[in-house]
């Protein structure tokens, strides 16, 4: 089915099988292998990408659902050689071991920062009617959709905290 989709700033007009997930489309048709297929059922977060600036699980979406959408993957975050602040923070804090979940973690954290800027609450938000403050408990809760089997969670938390502190 004809689908027009913008990925990392590049327009694509393609024919895709209706069954193709957004994740498979990115990986197999566009050869963007950064987004990872972990569970393929929306449980691990390794496939997290940004669609129109909002983080979603690319495995639980069909490419044909994204006609006209703008997708950003891990490959689209850096500006040339200049890393995105969250990419740099993950390096600085050594926030990974095997690295498989890392692209999803970083895209997820980029989405998190936008959600904080928009004032969206989470389950960890004590007062729903007050300004959201990015505590460690908030970061943990908001990153719970991204599993890390190497359990680099303390460093991931530190990286998000570092990037958020720099942005504040």
């Amino acid at each position: 089915m004809r689908t027009e989709i913008r990925v990392n700033g590049v327009d694509h007009a393609v024919d895709v099988d209706t069954r193709t997930s957004l994740l498979d489309f990115l990986r197999e048709q566009l050869d963007l292998k950064g987004s990872k297929k972990g569970c393929d059922h929306g449980q691990c977060g390794a496939c997290t990408v940004l669609v129109n600036g909002v983080r979603i699980n690319a495995c639980l979406s069909l490419a044909v659902m994204h006609d006209g959408d703008e997708v950003t993957t891990i490959e689209g975050l850096a500006s040339g050689e200049a890393l995105h602040p969250l990419q740099q923070a993950f390096l600085t804090e050594d926030a990974f071991q095997c690295g498989y979940c890392t692209p999803g973690q970083i895209c997820s954290a980029v989405g998190l920062m936008a959600e904080i800027a928009a004032g969206q609450p989470s389950e960890a938000t004590a007062d729903l009617n007050a300004k959201v403050v990015l505590t460690d408990a908030e970061i943990r809760e908001r990153m719970s959709g991204n599993l890390c089997r190497c359990s680099a969670y303390p460093q991931i938390l530190a990286a998000v905290r570092r990037a958020a502190g720099a942005a504040a």
Binding site: T18, D40, I56, L62, S122, G145
Partner: protein, 314 residues
Amino acid sequence: MKPFAFERARNVDHALSLAAAAPGARFLAGGTNLLDLMKLEIEQPETLIDVGRLPLADISETAGGGLRIGALATNTVVASDPRVRSRYPVLARAILSGASVQLRNKASMGGNLMQRTRCAYFMDPAKPCNKRLPGSGCSAMGGLSQATALFGASEFCVAVSASDMSVALAVLDAEVETVRADGSVRRRPVETLHRLPGDAPQVDTDLAPDELILAVELPPPPSGGQVWRKVRARASYIGALASIAVAGDRVALGAVAARPWRARAAEAALAEGAAPREAAEAELVSASGEDGRKTLVRRLATDAIQESRKGSRS
């Protein structure tokens, strides 16, 4: 995943005519549950009608002082809306306790209501399950399921609703508005949108195949405190073992039935002056299932009702 035809609905009428013309079609919104089940071939629709671009995402005030939430408003948008946060915090809390941010960013109001059970045996095509394959038996009875129905189960199915959001909607007396291809618009309470399993557990709701959810409407919030509690096996991103929504003198339980369970016996007891624990006991008189979960529900309900009486709205 089995092959299927994919249609992009241009407007509501187009979506409805596509549905009327294609028996076996399913409406697709966020897709977070339906596509997952299609990968497992538990769902095998011949046609998907993508309604994701229809203009049904608005949240607006109603003339009666309530809130009308479009069927395509995402879970994140609803939980973030200042009117929901200040007037219906039990709804914001219930939504925020479910799934992950990635899923809530995509999951819709209507899709959340239409999600199917997460019973482990329903999700495992290798196991008998009357809901998935009528007549094949129920593996959950005597199985390892942690959350089976305490209320409204039948000899054919003990699966529970997986929706946290619907529990809050039920306690708020929310209604679902739908439209069919013949133009008929209908309203149902969220409380009874889902069928109890009876002898046909494969049928989740009484919605017709060409019936599309347009919106959920909330009446003005009841006076009194609102409380949401969810008990689960880990701190985040997992389904409930039991949940509860309290709003004023109303109580609804989650993960204990095939629908969000309004605890009418508990409400009646409270109206007669019963203490919170006595009210919880009154509801559990009609409960079936193992004692451990009844104890969990008793403690949860007692605690949540007590907290609601402090008048807190969070």
